[in-house]
């Protein structure tokens, strides 16, 4: 009799714990899947002249992206969204000089758009709940970094060399994004 009772209590506890912990798990699942797809698509873009990568660019990569910084779940979502938004913005620029497949770029844009769509309602909730403002320095640092990328692309007249560097930066961004999804727990 006692065993049966204990078993039932254990089952109930397990279920409660699972129920409480799955509020972000669907999002995490989707984000990770999407990021994997994006990385695969990016790698499909043909490798461009290697000499382009020899140019050292200083885009003022935010410290938050470099180090393995710990994020609260809510901050992780805001940073995730901002990064997705900015990568989306870069990919809408003129890439005709590269000869890259429009289909691949469109597929990338679809994935990014889909991810942003999933994040939007949660982001709205967070901003309302915490009365959050974008005065947060992390977001401003990110905006500056992506602004520099955009300005560089423009200054190089969107040539293939500049896009090579963009591709390298975006691959790095996706690694950071993947790391951020680790915080989408509990």
């Amino acid at each position: 009799m006692t065993y049966r009772c204990l078993f039932r209590i254990a089952l109930l506890l397990c279920f409660s714990a699972t129920a409480l912990s799955t509020s972000y798990s669907l999002l995490r699942f989707q984000q990770r899947r999407s990021i994997n797809v994006c990385q695969k698509l990016l790698r499909q873009l043909p490798s461009t002249p290697q000499h382009c990568l020899e140019v050292r660019m200083h885009f003022q990569v935010p410290e938050e992206m470099k180090k393995a910084q710990k994020f609260r779940k809510e901050d992780a979502i805001l940073v995730l969204y901002e990064m997705l938004q900015q990568i989306f913005g870069i990919l809408t620029k003129d890439f005709s000089s590269t000869g890259w497949s429009e289909t691949i770029i469109e597929d990338l844009l679809v994935e990014l758009h889909g991810q942003m769509n999933h994040l939007e309602p949660i982001q709205k909730e967070i901003m309302q709940k915490e009365n959050f403002t974008i005065g947060d320095s992390t977001v401003l640092h990110l905006k500056n970094y992506y602004f520099n990328l955009g300005q560089y692309l423009k200054s190089m007249e969107h040539n293939s060399c500049a896009w090579t560097i963009m591709k390298a930066e975006m691959l790095r961004n996706f690694s950071v994004l993947k790391r951020l999804t680790d915080y989408l727990l509990d």
């Binding site: 049966r4 039932r8 279920f15 699972t18 129920a19 799955t22 509020s23 798990s25 669907l26 699942f29 989707q30 899947r33 969204y81 938004q85 900015q86 989306f88 913005g89 809408t92 469109e106 844009l109 679809v110 990014l112 758009h113 889909g114 769509n117 939007e120 309602p121 982001q123 709205k124 901003m127 403002t133 974008i134 005065g135 401003l140 640092h141 905006k143 500056n144 992506y146 602004f147 955009g150 300005q151």
Partner: protein
């Protein structure tokens, strides 16, 4: 004469002195007005940034504005490198435009300071609170271009700022636009809609003048911009070929079904699709609409196309009608979430009775769902509904596992189960339809238990019985093999002077009888009288002889009579 001259000279001197004093007074007044350096300082300095336009405004503390100029410097917070603010150097007005400042980074804090100058006098610096230009900037009015249809207006909105805008470079695609539209004739009927840069406002009436104004917003930053100027346009007259209406898209196994309403017959239709992300990008993307292959030149108000034509994502769909009279305007664009149309197939359930009070449930995927990517796209959980066949009380359980057990059931009862698959924690509450209902009876009432109980009861009752039987048996054994030494009372009396030994087993000595020969009867009586006191043994002997004689005598009467007499005498 001398007196008049003297009087005149005195008067002139007086006038001179008066002038001197008044000049000195005014000089001192001016000097007081200048108040030294403190009074030159600008006051209430404000920064106004609209898109990429930077303005500085202030008040001058001195009432006299002659020859007072103002100059401003700026630097990035934390550095010590004040630079001259372009457009705000030696300005006599109380505002300046420093848009030409080429800020490398509008996302970092900058400091401003301004001071007044008059000749060689300069006021102290008025330092403005450090600020982040991006956060301080206000969203300016967007540029709007309109095109009219009969029942709709096409909007082409350009984001605030120029295309080279530095302020909005990172947010150009994030703007949403709020449109307020009203009929020119009655401004009371206002309607507000949120639109994309390239969008349409529907549900308008033909041949009416509509006026509208647009403002840009950054909703996720809670920032709202200024309204554009009011634009007015006339809708065209009613088109002779109406547009299709009420577009619906439904999923049906491996296909999508697109349906719409159309009032007339003999019309051909075509449907197009667009990936939703294009809507975020300003500029015309009319070239991006693509034809849905199975929906070109269809004559019915529906068309069917395969699911794999549209990989997962968000799309817009529009339909156009054409007949002999011409081609209609495009219908309203219907947003279409593939993921919402994803069909989650119902699971397959199997139920097994293990014990009398539990049922084991196995949830499996149906054959059809094996091939779809739903399971890969989403983690699934199952909503299981469970009830006793005879009652209506249903128990609902959410289970992530595919194998689980229901406990605490009644034996020999039929229970039924049905389940559906859900996407775990999906805000849209997307689910499959319910599986088939499966029923199973629990095993009969706890056979082992009752046997055990019966066994115990039997054991309990049988123990005394067994004990009793054993005792009886032992008694029997004792009786047979170990008899009691105490003879019964009747036997006891009879054999009192002789120890009664085992008659059967031991061979006792033969009991010798003492016999007396009886000569005649009289003697007998005498013998008897004399022998009354004698032991019975002697009497016995005489009697015995008699008796034995009697017993052996054939003549019973005589023998018995004699014996009776003796016995009677003896008994006395």
């Amino acid at each position: 004469m001398v007196q008049s001259v003297k009087r005149k000279q005195g008067w002139h001197l007086l006038q001179c002195l008066r002038k001197v004093f008044s000049w000195r007074a005014s000089l001192s007044w001016v000097l007081e007005g200048l108040g030294g350096e403190a009074n030159l300082k600008p006051e209430n300095v404000e920064i106004h940034i609209i898109d990429d336009n930077f303005f500085l405004k202030w008040n001058s503390s001195s009432e006299s504005v002659r020859n007072v100029t103002f100059s401003a410097d700026y630097q990035i917070l934390g550095t010590d490198n004040w630079k001259k603010l372009p457009g705000c150097q030696n300005t006599t007005s109380t505002n300046c435009n420093f848009s030409s400042v080429e800020l490398k980074n509008v996302f970092e804090k900058i400091e401003l300071r301004i001071r007044a100058e008059e000749g060689n006098n300069t006021s102290i610096w008025y330092e403005v609170e450090p600020f982040v230009p991006f956060l301080e900037a206000q969203i300016g009015p967007p540029d709007v271009h309109l095109e009219a249809e009969d029942k709709a207006i096409i909007l082409s909105i350009s984001p605030p700022g120029t295309e080279d805008s530095i302020m909005w470079a990172t947010d150009r695609l994030n703007f949403r636009y709020s449109v307020v539209i009203w009929k020119n004739s009655s401004s009371l009927e206002e309607r507000t809609e949120t639109v994309f840069p390239e969008d349409k406002i529907y549900k308008l009436s033909p041949e009416i003048t509509y006026c509208l104004k647009v403002k840009a917003e950054l909703p996720l930053q809670s920032r709202v911009g200024y309204y554009s100027p009011v634009y007015c346009i006339n809708t065209t007259e009613r088109h002779n070929v109406p547009s299709p209406e009420n577009i619906q898209i439904n999923a049906d196994n491996q296909v999508f079904v697109l349906k719409w309403d159309y009032p007339y017959e003999n019309t051909t239709f075509r449907a197009q699709w667009l990936r939703a992300f294009f809507k975020k990008i300003p500029g015309k993307h009319s070239g991006k609409w693509k034809q849905i292959l199975n929906c070109e030149n269809v004559t019915t108000t529906r068309c069917v196309f395969p699911r794999n034509a549209f990989p997962s994502g968000i799309y817009y769909v529009r339909v156009q009608a054409s007949n002999g009279n011409g081609t209609s305007f495009w219908s309203e664009e219907k947003k279409f979430y593939i993921e919402m149309k994803t069909v989650i197939f119902p699971p397959v359930i199997s139920l097994k009775s293990i014990t009398d009070d539990s049922l084991h449930v196995s949830v499996g995927a149906s054959e059809e769902s094996e091939n779809t990517s739903v399971n890969q796209l989403y983690p699934l959980i199952y909503e299981v509904i469970f009830w006793e066949n005879t009652s209506n009380a249903e128990r609902k359980v959410l289970e992530k596992r595919t194998e689980f057990t229901f406990l605490d059931l009644k034996p020999l009862t039929v229970y039924c189960v049905k389940a559906r698959a859900l996407i775990e924690n999906d805000r849209r509450n997307k689910s499959s339809s319910f599986s088939d209902t499966v029923c199973e009876k629990t095993k009969p009432g706890d056979t082992s238990k009752t046997w055990l109980k019966a066994g115990i009861c039997t054991a309990l009752f049988s123990i005394p019985v067994v004990i009793y039987v054993v005792r009886l048996f032992l008694r029997c054994v004792n009786y047979v093999f170990f008899p009691s030494s105490k003879p019964p009372s009747s036997v006891d009396e009879y054999f009192s002077d002789q120890p009664l030994k085992n008659l059967l087993l031991s061979t006792s000595e033969e009991q010798t009888e003492r016999c007396f020969i009886i000569e005649n009867a009289s003697i007998i009586t005498e013998i008897e009288e004399t022998n009354e006191i004698d032991e019975v043994h002697k009497k016995y002997n005489s009697q015995t002889s008699q008796d034995s004689g009697n017993y052996s005598n054939e003549d019973e009467n005589s023998g018995s009579k004699i014996s009776e007499e003796f016995l009677q005498q003896d008994s006395v």
